[in-house]
Amino acid sequence: MIRALRVWIVVLPVLVGAAACGGGGTTESGAPAAPQVITADGSSTVAPVTEAVAEEFQRANPGTRVTVGTSGTGGGFQKFCRDETDISDASRPITPGEVEACAKTGVTYIEIPVAYDGLAVVVNPKNTWAASMTVAELKTLWEPAAQGKVTRWNQIRSGWPDREIHLFGAGVDSGTFDYFTEAIVGKSKASRGDYTSSEDDNVIVQGVGGDENALGYFGFAYYEQNHDKLKLVAVDDGDDANGAGPVAPSPDTVKNGTYRPLSRPIFIYAKVKALERPEVKSFIDFYLNQGIPLVREVGYIPLTDQEYMMVRNRFSARTTGSMFEGVDSHSQLTLEQRLTR
């Protein structure tokens, strides 16, 4: 028996090596031949939707494989424009810098809005004082100048308790981060740095849910999935034209535009070159048809039927480029208006 085993010690590595080099028809870069993995990466806000669609898609089409990473919207675009992923999940439109990066490497893409999201500001259920906040108060809390200085609740609004604030928020690669800072502080990516920042929104949920003094923000779906651990903060944008007083996010307020400025569309970006592979094309088709009920199930707000039809047309026509070039993502034009341009 030992003789045989000794032989195996030598033979096994050789076999493994041979299998490695020969198995699967590997190419120079090491990527195996069909059926290839459909790679999606990017926003952790969009990821729950893409994951849900991926799961149902793989169930309906055995043999297909989809991986979903959560490197953040920015991280996802970096990989996308390096031609490393097929689909980029994004919770904000592509920026001019990213457009340029993709142009440099020759990556063309189709911008596909898939749902609406409301950015929820949440506190711990035991927090009895912060039922609503104004945009101005949120700004004093989150702007870069607040770093190290604004650390207690009574500094935001007098009358609030003299307790430490523990802040939780999106990581810097996150589209949620870009969007929140732009809408609240006024400049994208301008934020204080002394908070628990994570690309993984689950960490934020855990953090706020476990700490009485905590405040955090993330996509509405994460609130919906964990509403027993969290409490929503209504946001007052000071503009009576779209909803007087503080407005809390909900499917209705996001859809009818009264939850401002923290409502936004979320997207996936599909690489045109990847669409030559039948599995990728059928995945996107699946997303835009069977995926719609999943949007609601996961906790986001579906677009209107009219908007979905226009998005499908945009996809079939392979219209490349972004509808948001040079424009703020939360500006006044609705998606429907943009899609018709």
Binding site: G72, Q78, D173, S191, T196, S197
Partner: protein, 297 residues
């Protein structure tokens, strides 16, 4: 070509192959040092080393970048310090109990069971810290944040306890019985004999074990990544979220950082600091063992 000569050539080749395998281990160390050094050097070409080592704000991923590593270092020291407060006294006491007091049947059953503690994967300890220990502590210490340094610190201490007790016990048991018996003959109680005679005699092994334990705590990753939080802050308060050096590396690895950027290099700079600290501690531990070793005839 005679069979003899073939055999000799084969032997020669095999000998060389074996030699290369052995020196390959040096390549690993060289590889670690080179990879860390390369990226750290690139990092330090953009960030002055004084700012890195002594700065108190760590926001390398944000727009307004600061590269002071002290918040991560204090996070690591805080969690490790708490772990040592648990592991060292308890581990040492366990070692003394097992070596000086316990009957050998007890020792034979308890020792392997304690070894089991050391074999549990660290992610399991992380689960335990976040979902069992933290809520438990929160019921005793209201106001304890969900992420804090206390819970993972305690759990790390439990994980390291077998290391301390096992190595210390070996050191204690290697002290010849003559010393103990001499103490008893002079009327010492077991405690007095243990503390004043056996322990000092076993100093080299015990101190080496303690230093090794510190090194292990500093290098621990998953328990703190799961339960300590991701907020770099310069504090010694164990009740608030902090971030350790190891947890920072995990945090960045979970996101995306393209090679060649300053953010990518920060994980190697932090890794370098970590490597140097544990390496120095391990060397120190070895030195303690050699330097104070008592040779009993």
């Amino acid at each position: 070509m005679t069979r003899r000569r073939v055999r000799r050539i084969v032997e020669f080749v095999i000998e060389r192959v074996l030699f290369l395998s052995a020196t390959g281990s040096i390549l690993i160390t060289a590889g670690i040092i080179l990879v860390l050094l390369f990226e750290t050097a690139a990092f330090l070409s953009e960030v002055p080393i004084a700012e890195f080592l002594f700065g108190t704000v760590w926001t390398p991923l944000f727009f307004d970048k600061h590269f002071g590593v002290l918040p991560l270092v204090t996070g690591t020291l805080l969690a490790s310090g708490i772990a040592m407060l648990v592991a060292l006294p308890a581990g040492l006491m366990t070692a003394i109990y097992l070596s000086e007091y316990a009957p050998s049947s007890v020792r034979r059953t308890v020792k392997p069971v304690l070894e089991l503690l050391a074999g549990v994967p660290t992610v399991v300890y992380g689960y335990f810290a976040l979902l069992f220990v933290t809520p438990l502590l929160q019921s005793v210490l209201p106001g304890l944040a969900g992420f804090n340094a206390l819970s993972p610190g305690i759990v790390m201490g439990i994980m390291i306890l077998p290391l301390v007790s096992s190595l210390s016990e070996d050191a204690l048991r290697s002290v010849p019985n003559g010393l103990r018996e001499g103490a008893y003959a002079l009327g010492a109680t077991r405690m007095e004999a243990a503390l004043r005679v056996v322990l000092p005699a076993a100093f080299s092994g015990v101190s080496a074990a303690c230093v090794l334990a510190v090194s292990r705590a500093i290098g621990e990753t998953m328990i703190v990544a799961i339960a300590a939080g991701q907020q770099p802050r310069l504090t010694l308060d164990p009740r608030v979220p902090v971030e350790t050096m190891t947890a920072y590396i995990v945090q960045v690895s979970l996101g995306d950082t393209p090679g060649g950027t300053i953010e990518y290099r920060t994980i190697f700079a932090v890794g370098m600091l970590l490597f140097i600290s544990t390496f120095v501690l391990n060397l120190f531990s070895n030195w303690l063992r050699e330097r104070f070793r008592e040779e009993y005839a």
